[in-house]
Symmetry: C2
């Protein structure tokens, strides 16, 4: 998990006494847990946070008492169900997700591929929903996972809605972080890709995220016309041949429009300011 929203200048915008340092310490413990390190021993937490064992012990014990961490038989700790419950609350608050779920399911049905939905968060796509089909190899990004935006179709769609200066600044902050040899890694290349997305309204990923995986994405817009989320279908490249791309794009765009419509976006409404120009 990436630390806070702090970028270059505005770090520590708050006065010292208006935050509770101890609560922050507790949250730092939670923040250690991620997909690559889903289990932690107290000793390692102490090392990582650079606090004495007894202090880390106290933090973990507190989180355990509240159920936010659970002690495994091995003595290590994992995230507990209360956090899943809270996440459920958060997800249900995302209108775009709630309205989009059935569309994702439809998409998966009619295309025979996996369908995904993501939002943009700190230069990453953040995946908030998906519909998998057991017939498709298990290639999808799980709930709550991230991916570098400019290396994915979903991300390109979302970035294309921002002024390129902002995109450039995101890259500067977080780096190129390519996944494969095909991942975009230079500014001119990215700028060309952005222009293409804006021109045709959708984005394609041909093995830029995972070798052999292809993806077609389109933006979901809110009442104000902003691309607040993106949906996509994805599958192994033999199921997503070049000649099928435009048909898939049409389908995805269709469903994206339907979700946008439900969110109050009216494509024909002239009051919508075009994102760029």
């Amino acid at each position: 998990m990436r630390r806070s929203r702090a970028r270059e200048g505005d770090r520590d915008a708050r006065r010292p006494d208006s935050v509770a340092k101890t609560i922050g310490s507790g949250l730092q413990v939670l923040s250690l847990f991620n997909h690559l390190a889903p289990e932690w021993a107290i000793t390692n937490i102490a090392q990582r946070l650079d606090v004495p064992y007894s202090t880390a012990y106290r933090y973990v014990t507190t989180l355990d008492v509240e159920g936010y961490l659970v002690r495994q038989p091995s003595g290590m700790y994992r995230i507990g169900l209360p956090l899943v419950e809270l996440a459920g609350v958060a997800l249900n608050q995302l209108d775009v997700r709630v309205h989009g779920l059935s569309h994702l399911d439809h998409l998966a049905d009619v295309t025979g591929l996996n369908a995904n939905m993501a939002v943009l968060d700190q230069g990453d796509t953040f995946h908030i929903a998906y519909a998998v089909r057991s017939a498709v190899p298990r290639m999808y990004t799980a709930l709550g996972r991230r991916a570098v935006a400019h290396c994915t179709a979903l991300g390109k769609v979302l970035l294309a809605d921002l002024p390129f200066e902002e995109v450039r600044s995101l890259i500067e902050t977080y780096g190129w972080r390519p996944y494969t040899a095909r991942s975009i890694q230079t500014a001119p290349e990215l700028e060309r890709a952005m222009a293409e997305v804006r021109a045709c309204g959708y984005a394609v990923d041909r093995g830029e995220r995972n070798v052999g995986l292809r993806c077609v994405a389109a933006p979901v817009r809110d009442r104000g016309g902003r691309a607040i989320a993106a949906i996509s279908v994805s599958g192994p490249q033999d199921r997503v041949p070049e000649e099928r791309l435009s048909e898939l794009a049409t389908t995805v765009l269709e469903h994206a429009s339907m979700i946008s419509y439900r969110l109050g976006y009216d494509a024909a409404d002239p009051t919508h300011v075009l994102p760029l120009g």
Copy 2:
């Protein structure tokens, strides 16, 4: 969210100095958020936790700085994406979920109904996965939501694996909390239901959770033979007529067995102690 694991006697098992009170306060703020109250203003948080405004302000600010809470334009706060990320980590650690996802999808496909997976937590079913079909009315329990165990097919399957004394104690702790007129509300009735589940291996819910909703569930067992989770299919009662129940039960049981098998459970292995006898 229900408070900690504390039951009648064993509250505060920890010595006072081995927990960080301030961290606990921060977690209490988070715990206020649930499906019925997904948004909170600082003023209300202060009232609810019975602390001065300035204190609640400090808590919320801290959680906001770390991204765990997000301030809405309205001035109220919601759960932030970092918690969704953590929940994703937790869900991916649940083997039964990871192995079961494709089976749920299959189940939804072959039955044309929604499929669900839940575990037992403090007398409730806790839903950890589902596969919805857009053709089915949106009747399903979302990720991270709970339901009273003895009022659902999933719950009955899970309870039936426990000694009845334990079930009785759960009811005593949490109450009957019926959902509909058909919900089980007496001990003899529940005991009979448990026996029936143990006899036939699956459970049925005929409008006990929601009027007009039917559900058929079967247990998923781990290496030790314990019912650690349950899966089900559910749908409106006109799609799940009485004469279809046994066929559905067979299908659900089949998939539950396959998941159990993947978890290392061998139904034929005589070393498994029968749950009750």
